[in-house]
Symmetry: C2
Subunit: 261 residues, 2 copies
């Protein structure tokens, strides 16, 4: 059995890049559904699919339905789909945060197809390196999703709901919180009229190092050196920003608790 | 006037890469000083310089002395040098954290030559993109350092002590604290037996986005979405790690205070 007939629900950042990559790799998508027809069309035109914005227009006999929709709407979309699609259809969602079991009340065959990356429409992505996490209660569905994954990426992984939940927490630290630290750096530069560009190569190298080395072995800075006078000077500087001050203090304390290399 | 005759004090990560880059670009270094002679030799051999580990062996008539030593030793190294070098010598240090004025008691001509990057000996660096921050109380010295910067980088900037102090605080956030967040992600993966490799492309993309976009506009995740149930689930997951729990809570609160895009 293989997947020949697919419907993509959602044309946001994930749906957009996933749909384009599947099409590029010769995996055809018949329909793209979005509440907003122009959004559906934008993607559908690129991947030779039909754009729809009516539930009733969704075909009932596709092999696979991919839900690339916000976490908060997965359950309600699933509920809508249930009455439309064939009871034997395989339905997956693309979220890192939501368990697969949210689909269980609605479908006999369900699973996960989760590309672990941050997507923005305007940025091209190197899909072959993006980890695709797949899971399904049925072994054959799981295998089917794995094979679909290998069509678009060289990094496909069977990841259970529990493992994916942990990965998602880790991703919040390394992506969302990291971006917030970049924002703090940006704000400090703006306020002090220093170009943020000066920090960009440093940011890139900090991330590049981690592609090869354990973060623990890459830790540098005043906190790990136990350089109390620099920490004190920085905290004084941050006095006008209680939030930055608290983050600086907490992170520095945590770093000082690291095991010495 | 130009710099023809240089002595490099220190052969740690900064000294090593800076020395090699200067040599590559045809800027000769006569001597490399390190307390440990084998360390001095390792670099000196690569850049056709003399390796020394005795203060008395330092030549007195170089045009420029570059102090690539830890912040905590800059002042004591300067004190040693003072009695050795010609009173007209220009002496600079390479630190982001220490004001240039630490050199003032010892030399009539002093300044900063600060490559803003994180260096590890074993990683090659793309020096042409590394911002070099230069400063000196004398305009002609400042210009001299600027010109030296342009020999090794396309990104050279006049940055005052005050500006550099702000940059250094910002660098702690975007580099040291970011690396610590990577460490948390690594720990979570290790504990849950999920390969950290799954997060590496995400980490790289998070940094790559910031090369073009404002971090504020790139903020994603449960906190910025106001997704209280995901935040609660994550905090529960982090219950066994009080430190990670506190960081998660504080960062999420801070992100929720961001102005809406």
């Amino acid at each position: 059995m293989s997947i020949r007939n697919m419907v993509l629900i959602g044309s946001g950042n994930v749906g957009y890049h996933l749909g384009r990559r599947l099409f590029e790799k010769g995996v055809p998508i018949q329909q793209v559904y979005s509440r907003k027809l122009d959004r559906a069309k934008e993607l559908a035109n690129l991947i030779e699919a039909e754009a729809i914005n009516q539930w009733e227009a969704i075909q009932s006999t596709a092999d696979l339905y991919i839900l690339a929709v916000p976490d908060s709407t997965i359950a309600s979309v699933a509920k809508h789909l249930q009455s439309i699609v064939d009871s034997k259809a395989l339905v997956v969602h693309c979220s890192g945060a939501t368990p697969s079991t949210v689909l269980q009340p609605y479908f006999s065959r369900f699973g996960i197809f989760y590309p672990l990356q941050t997507f923005s429409k305007e940025r091209p992505v190197h899909f072959e390196a993006i980890p695709i996490c797949v899971d399904a209660p049925s072994k054959s569905d799981s295998q089917l999703l794995y094979e679909l994954g290998t069509r678009i990426s060289q990094s496909v992984h069977f990841i259970t709901d529990t493992e994916r939940a942990s990965l998602h927490v880790a991703a919040v630290f390394v992506n969302n919180f990291t971006n917030y630290l970049f924002h703090i750096g940006h704000q400090i530069c703006e306020q002090e009229r220093v170009p943020f560009e000066l920090l960009q190569p440093l940011i890139l190298e900090t991330a590049a190092k981690i592609q090869e080395k354990k973060p623990l072995n890459m830790q540098t800075g005043p906190a790990i050196r136990g350089d109390a006078s620099t920490i004190e000077r920085h905290l004084l500087f941050l006095g006008k920003h209680p939030e930055y001050h608290r983050i600086y203090q907490l992170m520095s304390q945590a770093i000082q608790h690291l095991p010495k290399a």
